[in-house]
């Protein structure tokens, strides 16, 4: 029952492309108004391609097996041999590279669209599912601004993630401004560790630039600096994040708190709930999140892995505390069968669609329609409590 959607594809042949290029996918049948913003996608199912002026598109992408449909005279970049082209919907925004990679950046049918700000991070969390990588931030900023311009229509939701988005500095402010000017009503969620928010000037700029529905989702892994700093592998991180949270409140920025559930966060989890309520009562939401078995998790497995059915007691106590106190709490990424019945009402279908799977055991489960399922990375290693309900 694997449902993973491939966002990165490789093609056989690219011509006429010297640099990375972003464009919005348009199908042959809909390609009436050509534009340089658009990449024409020619699919096997297209019986006949009558494109009088293919050069008016930004590029032409050809599905595997549809090479014979390519018009002979194409003066724009052409990307030949795209696999699984039917998964690339019209209106998607993709970036093509001279090395043949085609990456989907935005899918209009999805609620999981995020701008991947940068792979760089100023923390190095033990359980990072996406370990930091070096990249070219100035170049990325240009691409992100271009991406926002290319998104067709106003998305209901949009994310900014990373890496650590605040490392974009002024670039982040420009991206926020562009989003605000294009999409006044989009719910924008930025995943940030909040450390840069210790600088109140930055927070003030973010608050001015961001659209009205903007939330900074900030992780907090313990009610004390020692444990939090160790988990994020950065001395002073807790100090910065706490200052950051208060700066956010000061500038009326909405914040939510995110906690990844693993062997090192579970023992202090109920105490963290107390701390959040007494110290960050302005948090609009608290997400308690099952761990994604990716990246560093594999390396730190013994130190991190605890089966969700073995932390049921702590999770119930924590959810109860927050719920009784009137806080808005959710459980992310835990399949319903390993979420205790007392707190199932707090479980959300939180896993991004492109990496969301269900197991063979899930087949025929009566709760499947409301279940988060699993991360694709949990296919092999997952809770022993998973069973059909």
């Amino acid at each position: 029952m694997e449902q993973v959607i491939t966002l990165r594809r490789k093609v056989e042949r690219v011509s006429g492309l010297s640099d990375r290029l972003l464009g919005r996918v348009v199908y042959v049948s809909q390609a009436a108004d050509h534009s340089k913003d658009e990449f024409l996608l020619i699919r096997k199912s297209d019986e006949y391609v009558d494109i009088s002026q293919p050069s008016r598109f930004g590029a032409v992408i050809v599905e595997e097996g549809a090479e014979h449909l390519v018009p002979s005279e194409v003066s724009v970049p052409i990307i030949i041999g795209l696999p699984e082209a039917e998964r690339v919907t019209a209106g998607s925004v993709v970036v093509v590279s001279p090395n043949g990679s085609v990456v989907t950046l935005y899918r209009p049918e999805s609620h999981s669209n995020s701008i991947f700000a940068t792979g760089q991070c100023n923390s190095n969390c033990l359980m990072c599912s996406q370990p930091p990588v070096d990249d070219d931030i100035p170049a990325l900023i240009k691409e992100h601004l271009r991406l926002v311009e290319l998104i067709p229509g106003e998305p209901e939701t949009l994310g900014i993630t990373g890496g650590e988005p605040t490392l974009l500095g002024d670039g982040l402010i420009r991206i926020l401004q562009t989003i605000k000017s294009r999409f006044s009503n989009t719910q924008l969620t930025m995943l940030t560790n909040g450390r840069a928010y210790a600088n109140n000037d930055l927070v003030r700029q973010v608050a001015q630039a961001a659209p009205s529905k903007f939330v900074s989702a900030i992780p907090l892994y313990a009610d004390n600096p020692t444990l939090h700093d160790w988990i994020v592998q950065a001395k002073g991180a807790f100090d910065q994040t706490m200052h950051g949270l208060y700066n956010a409140a000061r500038n009326k920025l909405q914040v939510e708190i995110r906690v990844v559930l693993h062997k090192q966060t579970i023992p202090r989890l109920p105490a963290l709930a107390d701390f959040i309520y007494r110290t960050i009562p302005f948090a609009s939401h608290i997400a308690l999140m099952g761990m994604e078995n990716m990246g560093y998790v594999k390396k730190n497995w013994d130190q991190l892995w605890i089966d969700p059915i073995d932390y049921a007691e702590e999770l119930i106590a924590t959810v109860r505390k927050l719920y009784y106190r009137g806080m808005n709490v959710s459980i992310y990424n835990l399949p319903l069968c390993v979420t205790p019945t007392a707190i199932r009402q707090f479980a959300r279908q939180s896993i991004s669609d492109y990496k969301n799977i269900y197991l063979d055991e899930c087949h025929g489960c009566q709760l499947i329609d409301s279940c988060s399922g699993l991360f694709a990375s949990s296919k092999e290693r997952h809770s022993r409590g998973i069973k059909r309900q």
């Binding site: 190095n124 033990l126 370990p131 930091p132 990588v133 070096d134 313990a222 009610d223 004390n224 600096p225 020692t226 444990l227 700093d229 160790w230 592998q233 001395k235 002073g236 807790f238 100090d239 910065q240 706490m242 200052h243 208060y246 202090r268 105490a271 107390d274 701390f275 309520y277 007494r278 110290t279 009562p281 560093y296 390396k299 730190n300 109860r320 719920y323 009784y324 106190r325 009137g326 019945t341 007392a342 707190i343 199932r344 009402q345």
Partner: protein, 501 residues
């Protein structure tokens, strides 16, 4: 870039040991130690952990250390985040001070048709001279102007007496005038009518509904108790009348718009469950178990009506147990004093309750405009003045300015004794953040606004016992009780908060 040379926990050990932040503590009979700070945060430590804490030998990885740091009751080398947060928390807890005096009590008449032996007000008979004991139009207008001069953008105009409904025309005029004068000021005004409801007419209810006035009445318990505590001036029983009229008011205004207060007399001590059951029978959502105040006629009657703080505490616990059973069975019903204390102790928020705050409610949170134009910091202060002691008389609406009244000599005297943070016996009490100061009572019972906690008056002994009881209860509560207490704090239905098994 990815770096998989992860540092061990020991690399993050705070350097330089730790120092103690200001805290107060109380040893409990079970051996545990209750610790609190001015932000109202608290923690219960074992005696052993407490001892290590103050000797600065707690290991940084211990749960006690982490709990203390999170509140914060200790500081280590992990940054200055705690100071900022402590300031915000403390500030939030004192935000009831925003806007200064918010409760404005208007004594539109001192005449009353009941003759309760514990009356703390120097009431006059129903047929006493109206001119001498009712508020004149000039006094009313000036008093309203004082209320509207308050810095708060939300004020409560509360009508007390005497029995205000004896002069319904004055109430109508007061609200009309307040609304007229407020047109240019634009405050939000809440209106409360404190009445024994003995002469309630349909037109009174129509007026309440039209003008948005809510009703606060008195119900001391079942018939035999209420009639004994609160006889009519003509000696007739009042219970049947008040309960019938509570119903009428509930039907006309909605249940949320009618509340009742009870006063505990010596007789009441015999009926803890019956009192609660009477409130339930009357569809009330809560009861406020109030001790008799040592004022007014209550002092004269103390031999008959009075009891010790310990007796009151025993009574309170019996009432409370009964209320908890009711809630466990699925009916939402709270005890208001407990709700106030629990909100102070368990939430980061503030509570504006004038009888239990520091700085004291008197003057800072409430003032009383008497029918004759005199302004007092409280009912109690008015009583003192009428026995010849004007210490807490703020001035006259007819002669003095707003500044004279709210920043004059009496307010200075009051302010000097109004902060329990600085009162002997309070300043080092673990329950100080949840309690209050009552300089007027201290003055009345001990001749000194600061007073001593062990002196007569009972404020300290009663509050300390009940607050400690509530803290112990909250600390040892099972999940069911925890849910109930939080439902009271959040003013929710106890069943709404219930999660599946």
């Amino acid at each position: 870039m990815a770096n998989t040379n992860f540092l061990p926990l020991s690399e993050f050990e705070p350097t330089g040991g730790y120092s103690l932040m200001p805290f107060r503590f109380q040893r409990w009979p079970d051996g545990n130690v209750f610790i609190s700070n001015s932000a109202g945060e608290h923690l219960v430590l074992s005696s052993g952990d407490f001892s290590k804490f103050v000797k600065k030998t707690l290991p940084y990885t211990s749960s006690a250390y982490m709990g203390l740091l999170a509140r914060p009751m200790l500081r280590d080398g992990s940054g200055d985040w705690g100071y900022d947060i402590y300031a915000s928390k403390w500030f939030t807890k004192k935000s009831f001070l925003d806007g200064f005096t918010k409760l404005h009590i208007f004594v539109t008449t001192l005449r009353c048709n009941q003759s309760c032996p514990y009356c703390q007000v120097s009431r006059q008979g129903e047929v006493a001279d109206c001119g001498a004991f009712d508020m004149s139009p000039a006094v009313m207008e000036r008093s309203i102007r004082f209320m509207l001069a308050s810095p708060s953008n939300r004020v409560t105009m509360e009508f007390q007496g005497g029995e205000p409904l004896l002069r319904f025309d004055l109430l109508q005029e007061a609200v009309r005038k307040a609304k007229e004068l407020n047109e240019k000021v634009g405050k939000h005004i809440d209106y409360v009518l404190c009445s024994n409801l003995s002469i309630l007419e349909d037109r009174h209810l129509d007026w309440c509904r039209t003008e948005g006035v809510i009703i606060s009445t008195s119900l001391d318990g079942p018939e035999y108790l209420h009639n004994k505590n609160r006889p009519m001036g003509n000696g007739r029983p009042s219970h049947e009348i008040v309960t019938r009229n509570i119903r009428r008011a509930q039907e006309a205004l909605g249940k949320h718009a009618v509340s009742a207060l009870m006063t505990t007399t010596r007789e009441s001590l015999l009926y803890p469950t019956e009192i609660v059951d009477e409130y339930l029978r009357m569809d009330m959502g809560s009861v406020f178990i109030r001790e008799l105040n040592p004022y007014g006629f209550a002092v004269k009657s103390s031999t008959v009506l009075g009891y010790s703080s310990d007796e009151f505490f025993r009574f309170y616990k019996r009432v409370f147990d009964h209320i908890i059973q009711i809630n466990r069975a699925g009916r939402t019903f709270s005890e208001s004093f407990a709700s106030i204390v629990l909100t102070k102790a368990l939430t980061p928020w503030t509570v504006g309750f004038v009888d239990l705050q520091s700085p004291a409610g008197a003057g800072f949170g409430v003032c009383v405009y008497n029918h004759d134009g005199e302004v007092y910091v409280s009912d109690e202060a008015r009583m003192l003045a009428e026995t010849g002691d004007p210490t807490f008389r703020l001035g006259s609406v007819l002669e003095d300015s707003y500044e004279d009244i709210f920043f004059g000599e009496p307010m200075q005297t009051l302010a000097a004794s109004a902060c329990s943070e600085a009162l002997p016996g309070c300043s080092d009490c673990a329950y100080q953040p949840y309690c209050g100061a009552d300089p007027v009572r201290n003055y009345r019972t001990q001749g000194d606004p600061m007073g001593i906690r062990t002196g007569p008056g009972g404020f300290c002994r009663r509050n300390k016992q009940i607050i400690e009881y509530l803290m112990q209860l909250a600390h040892t509560a099972d999940d069911d009780l925890t849910r109930i207490l939080w439902a009271w704090i959040c003013q929710e239905d106890v069943n709404t908060a219930k999660l599946p098994a």
